[in-house]
Symmetry: C2
């Protein structure tokens, strides 16, 4: 948690679930550009890449002057099973193969994070919880699908007496379109993390890296990410 | 978390959200009587009475040989506002007055707890998450209402590809009827905690105590609870 909380929490309209990845970081810039009073909430749930994502989320919030809360959920790593977790089997390489990707499901992760964000929003008087879900989110993750998000929003409205609702402003966009918005808004993509492996650099080979590099147009030389298969001085 | 995990988690059919209060404790006995393979999950969310409830939940599970997980959620006490929390204003006395009771709402608490229980259930292959919600649960708590529970169950089914669903077997009963079931099953009600204040004894005056003593028929001498207004040797 940051010390610097100059903006009064009572003026906060919305809470963004910020992973430190490119989608939610672009959405944060987008909200700032629209002068929305937004706080950000991030979660350390024991994934292999949380220790890469979260410092980037914190750095972006500091840069933009946004209140940022980091919530630690150590029980997920202790009790849940997934290759995405430090306690799970290794991250599979290759891209969109169902058997590979299914190993990276953390059961019901998004609803856990969203529920906490909703409780926090209600506590500070914010009316909206924002997620950067997009059309390319894998149908394999049932808790990321549009039908789920709509059902969960309905539950949120009922469970807060309509004090809070969910918003998915990028639901109709793909990751490439989000990258375009980010470029236009001057997002520093080197301050975003995507790789599931959480090494010193993006591996460039896991499914998450493959999607990132396509969205950021690595093949056209537009991706500033430093990947493992690049030399020290070729990254940007 | 208990060391003793003799029953294989893979044979667990259901996960009970166990507060250590009388309703969920009766439901645990009820499930045991029906030979259901059940694990229990409890939460320390920083309430004034968690330190009274949780040891009782643990003692009951040990007595019945049930796997028991206690999940700590310190961020709720740190970030959320409610008189129910140690960090909040004092618990109001008196009973069902709306202004009093509304101070004890912990925003979106139940969905946070249920989401975690669902993720845990999915991780161990259990198909059902059980809650001891009943007809007397206050309409003031929007996340305890029947309409909310139904909407949330729908979200759970969608968000787990129908691997997990919620069950509220006591939804049609009131607290007095639950007490009757407990008596029939031999529940030791002195191993359950209800008082919001979390003192050495049940205060007998907060809204939770008033409901407990009515359900357990204190006025008819059937309530084994030791209340603050009783002498040391009268409670049993």
């Amino acid at each position: 948690m940051q010390e610097n909380e100059t903006p009064m929490t009572s003026s906060i309209e919305s809470v963004l679930v910020l992973s430190g990845g490119m989608d939610s970081t672009v959405l944060l810039y987008d909200l700032m550009a629209k002068k929305r009073q937004t706080a950000a909430i991030s979660f350390d749930y024991g994934s292999r890449h949380n220790h890469r994502e979260l410092p980037m989320a914190a750095a972006t919030c500091e840069k933009l002057g946004v209140i940022h809360r980091i919530i630690r959920l150590p029980f997920i790593g202790e009790l849940f099973s997934s290759a995405l977790l430090k306690t799970g089997p290794p991250i599979p390489e290759g891209s969109y193969d169902t058997a590979n990707l299914s190993q990276t499901v953390v059961p019901f992760r998004n609803p856990i994070l969203m529920s906490i964000a909703v409780g926090y929003a209600a506590s500070i008087g914010a009316k909206e919880v924002l997620l950067a879900s997009h059309s390319g989110d894998h149908a394999l993750y049932p808790d990321c699908r549009k039908t789920f998000n709509e059902a969960f929003d309905q539950a949120v409205r009922l469970g807060t007496d309509n004090a809070v609702h969910l918003s998915f402003p990028y639901a109709g966009l793909d990751k490439g379109q989000i990258a375009e918005i980010g470029r236009r808004l001057g997002v520093d993509f080197t301050l975003t993390w995507t790789c599931y492996k959480g090494g010193n650099r993006h591996c460039g080979r896991c499914s998450a890296c493959v999607e990132r590099s396509q969205a950021l147009k690595r093949s056209e030389g537009l991706d500033p990410t430093l990947y493992e298969d690049q030399g020290e001085h070729h990254g940007r």
